[in-house]
Symmetry: C2
Amino acid sequence: MNFLMPTEIVMGRECIRENASIFARYGKKAMLVTGERSARQNGSQADVIAALESQGMEYIVFDRIMANPTVDIVYEGAIQARENAVQFIIGIGGGSPMDAAKVIALLATQDISRENLFGGVYENRILPMIMVPTTAGSGSEVTKYAILTNDVTQTKISVATPLIFPNVAMLDAKYTETLTIKTTVNTAIDALSHSIEGMLSKRANAISNLLAKESIRIIAECFKELESGQVSNVSRERLLYASSLGGMVISQTGTVAVHAMGYSLTYFKNIDHGHANGLLMGEFLNYIKEFEPDLIAEILSFMNMNVIDEFKEKMETLLEKTEKITGEEIEQYSKTAMKTGHIANCIVTLDFEGVKRIYEKSV
Amino acid sequence: MNFLMPTEIVMGRECIRENASIFARYGKKAMLVTGERSARQNGSQADVIAALESQGMEYIVFDRIMANPTVDIVYEGAIQARENAVQFIIGIGGGSPMDAAKVIALLATQDISRENLFGGVYENRILPMIMVPTTAGSGSEVTKYAILTNDVTQTKISVATPLIFPNVAMLDAKYTETLTIKTTVNTAIDALSHSIEGMLSKRANAISNLLAKESIRIIAECFKELESGQVSNVSRERLLYASSLGGMVISQTGTVAVHAMGYSLTYFKNIDHGHANGLLMGEFLNYIKEFEPDLIAEILSFMNMNVIDEFKEKMETLLEKTEKITGEEIEQYSKTAMKTGHIANCIVTLDFEGVKRIYEKSV
């Protein structure tokens, strides 16, 4: 068993205001990395800036991170970080800005070519990072991963290194209150897929399973509210907690086939990441069930479900309809998925036909 | 909520041999800090040395740590570390050598006077530390605490700082197989008290409670084997895991009254630390039950128990008889306990009379 999760977690309403001194630990000048809108709308950016100002600190804002951030944008961010001599990075937003912030923190301290960016070999230095998630899904605030879109391989690809574990994650669920119900659902299902896939990883261990079980249980308890469209603030806090647990899980286990397969749906069909995972998860569980029926039954039991069909129905109720994918596309996506390490990371080895069949039955 | 547990955990049979490269991360010359006998007898010292040699590394051995280590010995160890220019520290043993190793790592890099050693204010540097627990009790391999015996205050006292979180904990339960049943029981009960006290701390949070619950559950499942005197290797592995969970718990929550009260029994009566905690825990739970009946019922339920008397009987069966403590002694110990921060850290504020009553009913 291996377990590593060095990120400090600070959670609670107004935790940024109440822990402003944490920012001062990491220097006198910060770069905020965020998208162009949501961090302004949900108040998180203002809260971070107020905290920095209360500590007499300087900052610059790099707010050009788009959904599914590109390799280009992190290199641009790193140039800004260097030119402005910032001492640490604050990522604010969903998985996209947080992931971009991590890679910017890495590129700000060392020259890495585009060819080597995803190679996993880096010098042992990085700017300190504080993450402020404003969705409850990616868990990026506590992971060693940063997912970027790679136009060379036409899919998403990870920078994966313990170096990019953030120093601190500051979790205030109030920033998730302004999310649409669609984003709330999609991100919750992303978190759910982290915990479920984590339990089906070869690297699952006692601690990751303990965290995964708690996370699955909490998210399933929120299904009813997610379905109704009315998600209470208490549930939002629980979803944010559960999504961080999911992040801790995958930092140990990695994700498996669902993530590998979902990336093509996002890249080519612009289906949101969590949504894509939700579409594929039921048939993936059906596939694994042939080999590991007890484990699948256990996972279903955490959600108070008896059969996979219940799970599939729940996903169908929660997720929006998507366009049909052609046989040709499925062939292509299956090839892409098979090339990833995610497939080999699953407790059951999926073959090309198996992957194809999951796509065919799912989308 | 706050959560921090940056120590990397590597667990499994032969994990030291199989992860020899981990040692090389931290330099070329190590100091082993251990007691004079057990690390030799149980094979842990030989395994560590073999791992270091396989990496072509140098080492010195400082094997003079006694049970309940003194302030003197850690200053002596730090002199050795400096004179030999070691780059990192490997603590091998139970709580005593590991705790001493942590303070040696601190004192090796900075001058701290004896007056300021327990003050909590240190410069931000320390030698890297790898811990190899050979008992399943203290959880020190994953905590930010080091407990020393302080003859000035006539009790045990903590160095407490996130600086002393070890870098890596390497857990191989085979080193616990040579422990006597008495030590196996006492250390298991120490671990149990960490998790139970953690749940009764003002600083308990969702994650610490999740870990505590798992830890209590596992230890209670081992009661029968502990009672029989025959503890299987599988159970030893589970106990070691549970004791690390307990360490993670108290790194978030601290301990409460049981630890504060037990220290005097160890200092003045030479009652083993875990044993002392076990003697006091039942009456402590009885005291808290008046204010928090549901929480106590929940904790008992993790052990499949309905009433505190069951718990007390179990402790009586497991622990050896001790000599009676006089009223005068109780008066003195109660005063000492009341001066500690542990008392104020409990969800229920104990007063002097309450502490005295717990002692009177327990010993």
